[in-house]
Each structure stands twice: as structure tokens, then as C-alpha cells.
């Protein structure tokens, strides 16, 4: 009956995807609810004196049969570092499901999904459950170098894959907004979705706004609770200060004061 839960998951996989990103797969003790792409979990990271609060991570994959969910964790600071050191068999407490999730596109629509860094996680999840024909789904994935790109080959079946790197080591050189699929073809899309660094999302939002295209972004504001009680994660919007953890993390760019 309760809509949210706190439960001890068991780590069933922790494997490096590249030098800074790890795939962590967790098995739930209870039947998992259906997750929306864009939703996240709040992870208790044990084992250091310095980490007091949980850390939020987007859902990357869910296997309802196996009752597992996967995260892509990028090493940023103390907590994410520690989390990537967790071993198979260890226990990890999660609060879930949190946040709203992206608007699922309508049949026949053409969408562009843009992921930067660990922001690929919810984009790949969205691609998978979008319900669209693969030819209507375009995934644009950006990173600084090829080394920071995650292997997403298997997502080829859900859409067309496009890459960009700042140093040109994979795909187009430059930022995602400089990639032809974005720069030249933005008007072709019914919806644009983005998750990644703030600067990236702001750049995307600016163009999408100018082109008057539906665009949703997933914010990563600092959080204390993750379920709407602390009012720490707020984002100023046209509807006032909203909580990224409950009113978001996904926002339509028209709501944001960007």
C-alpha cells in the first residue's frame, strides 16, 4: 500500500564501465515497483566517517524478473568513490522510488535523448521503455574523451546512437550541442530530453527554447532527504521554488528560470 520504501538491497554486480563509471546492480528483497525513466534511488553509503547523508542515483536498468536494478555511478567525490568500492554480496540500503520521471513520448513521435557523463543512465532507460520505433529514437551521448564513454552498443536496438567527445576521440569533436544531430536537425524532433552536467543542459535548453521544442531535463541539485521533507534541493521555477526530489528531478525547461 505504501508508495515508497526503504530496503536493504544486495549487491550482485559491481563492474567498471570505464575509468570513472561503474555499473552497480542491486537485488531487491521485495518485489520492485514499476520505475519511470528519470526516477532515482537514494543510497546509503557506509564505511566512512565523512558520509552522513545518502546519495541519489538515477535508475539505469530494471529487471523485474530478477528483481534487480542497476545504477551507473560516476566517481565525483567521497561518497561516489566509496560506493564504487562496494563488493558483491554486500548490503546496501536504498530509498525508492523517488522523483517524477520523464514524460513518455507519444506513438510516432521523434525524440532526441541527450546524455552527458553519468547522465546517460536515465536516457538509456528512457530509450528502452519509450515504446517508440527505434528509427524515431536518437541517442546523443557526450563525454570529454573516449575513455569516459560508457559502452552502449546494446542500446543500438532501441535507437540510433550518436557520440561526441570534447577531444574528438569518439564521434564528433566538441560539446553535444555542436553535434550535427543537434545543431542542424533539432527542428526534426518532437521532444528533446537531456541529463548531464548543468552547463550542458542549459545550453540544450537555450536552443530548444529558441526552437520552441518540447524539452525536459533532469536536474541534480544537492539533496538531503530525497523525498520532499527538507526543502534543500529547491530549484526556482515559474511556479515558485520547487523540490527537485519530488517535483523533479525532471523539469520542462519552460518551467525553469534558465
Amino acid at each position: 500500500m505504501s508508495k515508497k520504501a526503504v530496503a536493504d538491497f544486495c549487491v550482485v554486480e559491481n563492474s567498471p564501465l570505464n575509468s570513472t563509471n561503474f555499473l552497480i546492480k542491486l537485488k531487491a528483497p521485495l518485489k520492485l515497483p514499476v520505475f519511470q525513466p528519470g526516477q532515482f534511488v537514494n543510497v546509503d553509503i557506509k564505511g566512512t566517517d565523512e558520509i552522513f547523508l545518502r546519495r541519489p542515483f538515477s535508475i539505469y536498468e530494471v529487471d523485474y524478473k530478477e528483481n534487480t536494478l542497476s545504477l551507473i555511478v560516476k566517481i565525483l567525490g567521497r561518497g561516489s568513490k566509496k560506493l564504487t568500492e562496494i563488493r558483491e554480496g554486500e548490503i546496501c540500503s536504498l530509498v525508492y522510488p523517488l522523483g517524477n520521471g520523464f514524460t513518455i513520448p507519444q506513438k510516432g513521435e521523434k525524440v532526441l535523448l541527450i546524455g552527458g557523463g553519468s547522465g546517460v543512465a536515465p536516457m538509456l532507460f528512457l530509450a528502452k521503455v519509450s515504446g517508440l520505433q527505434p528509427e524515431n529514437v536518437n541517442l546523443l551521448l557526450g563525454a570529454r574523451t573516449i575513455e569516459e564513454h560508457v559502452d552502449v552498443k546494446k542500446y543500438g536496438e532501441y535507437g540510433n546512437l550518436h557520440f561526441s567527445t570534447e577531444d574528438g576521440s569518439l564521434g564528433e569533436k566538441g560539446f553535444v550541442t555542436q553535434h550535427p544531430i543537434f545543431k542542424n536537425n533539432l527542428h526534426m524532433f518532437d521532444r528533446v530530453y537531456a541529463c548531464g552536467p548543468d552547463v550542458m543542459m542549459r545550453a540544450i535548453a537555450k536552443e530548444a527554447k529558441a526552437a520552441n521544442i518540447f524539452c525536459e531535463v533532469s536536474l541534480e541539485n544537492l539533496m538531503a532527504c530525497g523525498f520532499g521533507v527538507c526543502l534543500c534541493c529547491i530549484e526556482p521555477t515559474n511556479r515558485g521554488n520547487l523540490c527537485v526530489c519530488t517535483d523533479g528531478p525532471v523539469f520542462n525547461i519552460n518551467d525553469l528560470k534558465w
Partner: protein, 303 residues
């Protein structure tokens, strides 16, 4: 069967475990996890006369065994509460207590008068200790005169249970507690957060938009516990203790130091079930120690 009930003024609470204001919204969010009627009481998010947007982002910073917040009493104002929130939550089967705030004495009075009309709100918690607002808040709570003025004014317009929430940012908290007791407070709750600061050494900037914020969590527990013990020994009205309570052992320590009831704050961010687990833990402790009632713990510290 152990008796978990405790009494503050004329209210009997089913158990001494309550949520701290500002750390569980208006309790609706907790309902996503479990039925809040199990809890001893719900102290609702700090409410002011008018809508307040609160402070700018970032409002939060993690510290060793604690966190800073600078929310700044973001809330939609008392009228919005009465019209939109109260109707949704008023039937929760546990006392709902409004945390009353103001920048001026008049604002405290106005909010109180409006809350006074609400049948299902048996008590208010007068917050004279918020460190995150420019006007009012802690300014009233750090001097006896300030504390007296607000308490006296509110007492004159309010007959139900009046709890005054004290600031720990003072030289002698017993002086403030005695001052509000003398002005008719029915109970004191303590502590609010400690004025504190965090810096990003790499960027050389404060981590909070407001530079300073309020420290909460286990880091402050030893200081909060000392203050509860001092206040318990200084006043006759019941004390509600809080500050870094993470589990039943912590809660019991506050009760032994003199708290009649305790509030769980920051711990809820870590795990919203902690208040429920504390109720269970207190029950287990009482049984194990052959104590009949939670009341037996209050001030039972042996010196």
C-alpha cells in the same frame, strides 16, 4: 505490556517519539512510507504569516556526522496551510503541532490566532530559534527579554498547549528556559540548530548561499543532551529534547537527561522509518529493564 504514553501539559501522547519541525514537511510525505498515526506527535514545518520563498540554493552542506541547512522557513503561509494542507492532514490520528514563526511579535500573534481556530491542532511550538532568517527567528531566542516578549504576547492569545522552542546559540540556556516558563510556556523544546558554516576550500567560497546555516545531526548530540539536562534541572515544565537522535539509545539518553518526549529531525532524511524504530526500541528497552512506563525514564539519570 509497557506503557509508552507521556503527558505534556494537558495532552497525553501515545508515545514520546515525535517528528521535528522542518524535517518531515506536513507529514504527508511520510505517509508514502507508513502510517504516521503511530508516532507520538507531528511537529509540522515552520509556518509564517505570509508566503516565504526561503533562501537561495544551495541550502545544504554535509559535515562530519551532521549537516548544515539554510532553508530559511520556506512555506506558503498560514492561510494556505489552513485552506489547503490542514483539511488533508487533520484526521491523522496523532496530535498535529504547528511550528509558529514570525519576523515581528505581531506576526507571531497573528499566526497563533489563526492556528487557534483549528480544532485538530492542540498545541503550537513557538520557534524563537531559527538561525536561517534575517529578521525575527533566533533574534528573539537568544535574549531573555526577546524570549519573554514573544512568549508573553502569544500566551495572551492562546489557551491551548504552548511549547517554546529554544535556541542552543546562547551562553546559558536555562536563563531563557526560565524566562519563557515565567511567561506561561507549558513546555520547552530544545535544541534548534547551531549557527555554523562550511567552506569549499578549492573554490574558496561558502557552501551555503547564506554563508552560515544551522548544524543538526549526531554531531550536536552531546551539546543538546547537556542542554536538555540543564534545562530539566532548571524548570518545572516538561522538556522536549532533540538534536542528533538517530536511534532508540539516543532517545533514551535524552529521556534519562530529563526529556518527557523527543523529536527526531535529521535522522528522518537518512531513513524515514527511524521514528518508528525508536518506538520499538524504547519498548524493548523498557521490557528488558523491567520498567513499566516510558515515564520511568524521564530524568532517571543516576549521578
Amino acid at each position: 505490556m509497557v506503557d509508552l504514553t507521556v503527558k505534556i501539559h494537558n495532552i497525553e501522547f501515545k508515545n514520546p517519539v515525535m517528528t521535528a519541525s522542518g524535517t518531515s514537511g506536513f507529514a504527508e510525505e511520510l505517509m508514502d512510507f507508513y502510517d504516521v498515526s503511530q508516532l507520538g506527535a507531528l511537529f509540522l514545518k515552520g509556518t509564517t504569516l505570509k508566503n516565504r520563498d526561503g533562501n537561495d540554493y544551495p541550502r545544504m552542506a554535509e559535515t562530519a556526522s551532521g549537516m548544515l541547512n539554510a532553508v530559511g522557513l520556506q512555506n506558503k503561509g498560514i492561510d494556505y496551510f489552513i485552506e489547503n494542507i490542514y483539511p488533508r492532514i487533520k484526521n491523522y490520528n496523532t496530535p498535529l503541532i504547528v511550528n509558529v514563526n514570525g519576523s515581528t511579535v505581531e506576526e507571531y500573534i497573528e499566526v497563533t490566532e489563526k492556528v487557534n481556530e483549528l480544532d485538530r491542532i492542540p498545541a503550537i511550538e513557538l520557534n524563537i530559534s531559527c538561525p536561517n532568517v534575517k529578521e525575527g527567528g533566533m533574534a528573539f531566542g537568544v535574549s531573555c527579554v526577546g524570549a519573554e516578549v514573544v512568549t508573553k504576547a502569544v500566551r495572551e492569545v492562546y489557551d491551548k498547549t504552548l511549547i517554546v522552542k529554544l535556541s542552543p546559540n546562547v551562553t546559558d540556556i536555562t536563563e531563557i528556559a526560565k524566562a519563557v516558563e515565567a511567561q506561561g510556556a507549558d513546555s520547552v523544546s530544545l535544541v534548534n540548530t547551531f549557527l555554523a558554516m562550511a567552506i569549499d576550500a578549492e573554490k574558496r567560497t561558502p557552501l551555503l548561499s547564506t554563508i552560515t546555516g544551522g548544524l543538526s545531526g549526531p554531531a550536536i548530540k552531546p551539546i543538546a543532551l547537556r542542554m536538555v539536562w540543564q534545562v530539566y534541572n532548571a524548570v518545572k515544565i516538561p522538556v522536549i529534547g532533540m538534536g542528533g537522535i538517530m536511534n532508540a539509545t539516543d532517545a533514551i539518553e535524552f529521556m534519562l537527561a530529563g526529556a518527557t518526549a523527543i523529536q527526531v529531525g535529521t535522522a528522518i532524511f537518512k531513513d524515514p522509518f527511524i521514528p518508528v524504530q525508536i518506538i520499538e526500541g524504547i519498548k524493548e528497552y523498557l521490557e528488558r529493564h523491567n520498567l513499566k512506563s516510558a515515564k520511568d525514564l524521564i530524568g532517571a539519570l543516576q549521578l
